[in-house]
Symmetry: C2
Subunit: 158 residues, 2 copies
Amino acid sequence: MSLLKKTVLLSAAFGVAASMAFSGGDGPTPIERGIKARQAQMTLYAFNIGILGAMAKGDVDYNAEGAGLAASNLAALSAVWMPGAWLPGSDNASVKGTAALPKLWQDMADVGAKGQALAEAAQAMTLVAGTDLAGLRSGIGAVGKSCGACHESYRAKP
Amino acid sequence: MSLLKKTVLLSAAFGVAASMAFSGGDGPTPIERGIKARQAQMTLYAFNIGILGAMAKGDVDYNAEGAGLAASNLAALSAVWMPGAWLPGSDNASVKGTAALPKLWQDMADVGAKGQALAEAAQAMTLVAGTDLAGLRSGIGAVGKSCGACHESYRAKP
């Protein structure tokens, strides 16, 4: 298949979003696209932690398959690292539509360490979430703590 | 994951969702939350494929590290499977805010196969994207094709 044809296929698959990605013009800016992408990642974290949290609290019945799947989703998501979603100048003092504080960009080593803590907590969760409710409950504290650590330091209070 | 296992998990998640559906409160419904989550996953696919596509087309210079990262992100994202994001009744004939056609729910085996094709194309991409531009170009057609296959069948035309 020719590159041209592949490019056409790609454009067909993603339509405007992909083809405009770096084209300038009237589409979203790289900073706007980046903020949207990182917020999408947060949405997916929240969705999957919500499943686990509802079971941990007893709001819904424990379900081993659903819990295991949510935990493995968290682990997969914690492996998604998008530097282009955290561009300098995409903080809440520079642009609207984000709660990310400027100081996030002042200590990237700490941000990375906090991300690593989340990845490890999510990985640990995959080992216990599908076992039983006690297992799920044993792992969820570390997951929540790792989320909170980053939010506490780098996200503006609502 | 096998299609059978996915089907079982899907059924399990429906139970969870059903019990959440009647929990009351003023927050988003399970269907609204699910649509938001699946659209977030698509946003992340598009963001990472946009990076690869821009390099493939020559809109931006090839960058081995960035390409490899985008490819590994795609592979990680393709492992995220959220049955609760695809609840029956979340099609575009039933609710607003989605382009998912009702027929998606009529052939889940095909949907699963198309998802598997994406996972395999993304995995293959991780082996070539970080090598050089030719490698990236050799892998991107299959990724775009796998995206397009599902969109063509199950997404409403804009």
